[in-house]
């Protein structure tokens, strides 16, 4: 039996008086794609940010590949755990290629030409080889998010975190980003994804976690949660999502 790739034990985090995460426990095996859903403010972003320690947990243990993240150097941890943001957060003054190569050069120590070649390959992987020399402001939202994914991939992470990667996108641009994510999932990437895209959850997720008021209220394979949720709150939330999606597409 091999260790889980990611293990989160009794994770707690407060901001001031407000306890945002109240004891989170879950594990991810290699090649798992776990989708995290939950109402706004339930702590999904905070949970992801604790995993790569952009936010320092108050309590609990997080291990990646058996290593306690509290004992790891930030740069080592973040090479292993990549992150994709809701608002893309591309470096506005750099071309797509340089967005991807910056980490290669400054963190992984690649020489300039090596880094740029590798960046070109990553951009090709997300279908943007022809936009390598464009600046973020010259790209559509969907293209920007794909650069964001390429930037994370370039670090060769073992685990990729996605924080609502499509929720800032116009509906017609969501598909291209989901397609890239689907491809990564099929290719065996381990992914922890906060999203409310039901289709992606249904087709790509190995597990669905429902986060509510700082706790994982319910978890299981997507079909189980969609069809026979145990908790009324899960049912209500998912029903509302389904209605919303039907409204959008219909």
């Amino acid at each position: 039996m091999s260790d889980p790739l990611l293990s989160v034990r009794d994770l707690r985090k407060s901001f001031g008086e407000e306890e945002v995460l109240r004891g989170i426990d879950f594990e991810m095996d290699r090649q798992d794609v776990q989708v995290l859903m939950g109402p706004s403010g339930s702590g999904k972003s905070t949970l992801l940010r604790c995993v790569n320690r952009l936010s320092e947990p108050d309590d609990g243990t997080i291990t990646v590949d058996g290593e306690d993240t509290a004992a790891m150097d930030d740069d080592d941890l973040r090479r292993e755990v990549g992150m994709v943001f809701q608002t893309f957060n591309l470096f506005a003054h750099l071309t797509a290629r340089k967005n991807v190569s910056l980490g290669l050069r400054r963190v992984r120590g690649f020489a300039k030409s090596e880094a740029e070649d590798r960046a070109g390959e990553e951009l090709e992987r997300v279908g943007l080889a022809d936009q390598a020399d464009s600046y973020p402001a010259e790209l559509s939202g969907g293209q920007q998010q794909r650069v964001g994914i390429a930037r994370a991939l370039a670090m060769d992470p073992k685990l990729l975190l996605f924080d609502e990667p499509t929720s800032a996108l116009d509906p017609e641009l969501i598909g291209e980003v989901l397609a890239v994510m689907r491809e990564l999932a099929d290719g065996g990437m381990t992914m922890l994804v906060v999203t409310h895209e039901m289709g992606f959850a249904r087709e790509a997720a190995t597990d669905l976690l429902f986060l509510d008021e700082g706790r994982i209220l319910e978890r299981g394979p997507p079909t189980q949660l969609f069809e026979s949720p145990e908790h009324e709150r899960t049912a209500t939330f998912l029903r509302r999502l389904t209605d919303l999606e039907a409204g959008q597409h219909g």
Binding site: L54, D75, N89, L90, H93, R106, S134, M155
Partner: protein, 300 residues
């Protein structure tokens, strides 16, 4: 940071179109600076072409137009003052800049250092520049210390101690103002970008260096233009600690010939030329480093 090639920021490319007014401006600027440079060279090397402070052409050639004759006669003496005005401005900006980066960084990202930086900035911005110059010149024993340094005021182009004190004063002063412009610019860079930098493993310092600052420095250009314009004009306060810069030269010549209005008008024209040069160069710089797709501050 100017790694961008000459791609135009938008679809309309105004930069390459021939503009007669702009060409005239460039010609006037070239003549003005060419003349200044010749004057400075001439005076530094003890009268290379004509005796120091003497015009290249005799003013009597321009007798038909008395104002012009006056300008030809006295502009050379003012030119040496312009040198000090330019020197004080450039030194103040250039040496103030690295200090400003540290101060602005401390203001935005520091904990205890934030208050130190704030104290410095408010102290400098809250007191008159003239008072600062007086304290440095009369108050701290700095004058006698600098005067004793080898070469000061006696060897070639090494300026005398008052100029050194003015340079120190303008550096201290400009650092505070530049820090505030920079702080505003740093805060206008979306903090999500620094997070993204840290999320790929860059340290906070590297994130600031490679991601935040290259953008903040661009956004600070309009502030710097202001600062340059102010420094050019406020450098005249150095006159009160005996630095023979442009204003000082004009008033000391006027005290001999009593032609105050004419001399200060002429000095005013020099200041205007310096300010126009500064604003023009800065707007060129701004266009040049504009991030494709984002436009310059004009468009924002």
């Amino acid at each position: 940071m100017a790694e961008s090639d000459s791609r135009s920021a938008g679809s309309i490319d105004v930069g390459n179109r021939y503009d007669p007014l702009e060409a005239l401006g460039i010609l006037a600027g070239a003549l003005f600076w060419g003349w200044l440079l010749f004057r400075w060279l001439n005076d530094w090397f003890g009268g290379l072409f004509v005796p120091q402070s003497q015009p290249f052409l005799s003013p009597s050639l321009f007798e038909f137009f008395p104002a012009l004759a006056f300008a030809v006669e006295f502009a050379p003496a003012l030119a040496s003052g312009v040198w000090l005005t330019v020197l004080l401005t450039i030194v103040g900006i250039a040496l103030g800049f690295p200090i400003a980066i540290v101060l602005a960084g401390a203001r935005v990202y520091g904990r205890a250092t934030r208050w130190v930086a704030l104290g410095y900035i408010e102290l400098v911005r809250g007191t008159p520049l003239l008072a600062q110059l007086f304290v440095l010149y009369y108050g701290l024993g700095l004058s006698s210390f600098i005067r004793e340094l080898p070469g000061v005021g006696t060897v070639g182009v090494i300026p005398e101690q008052a100029v050194w004190i003015a340079m120190i004063g303008f550096t201290i002063n400009s650092a505070a103002y530049q820090a505030e412009y920079l702080r505003g610019a740093i805060e206008s860079v979306d903090p999500g970008q620094l997070q993204a930098a840290r999320a790929i493993g860059l340290s906070q310092v590297d994130g600031i260096r490679y991601v935040v600052l290259p953008q903040a420095l661009r956004y600070a250009i309009p502030g710097w233009t202001n600062e340059l314009v102010y420094l050019i004009k406020y450098s005249s306060l150095a006159a009160f600690i005996t630095v023979p810069e442009l204003f000082n030269r004009a008033s000391s010549i006027a005290s001999e010939n009593f032609r105050y209005l004419a001399l200060f008008s002429l000095a005013g024209l020099f200041y205007l030329a310096l300010v126009l040069t500064a604003t023009n160069l800065m707007s060129r710089l701004e266009d040049r480093v504009a991030i494709p797709g984002l436009g310059t501050s004009e468009g924002r």
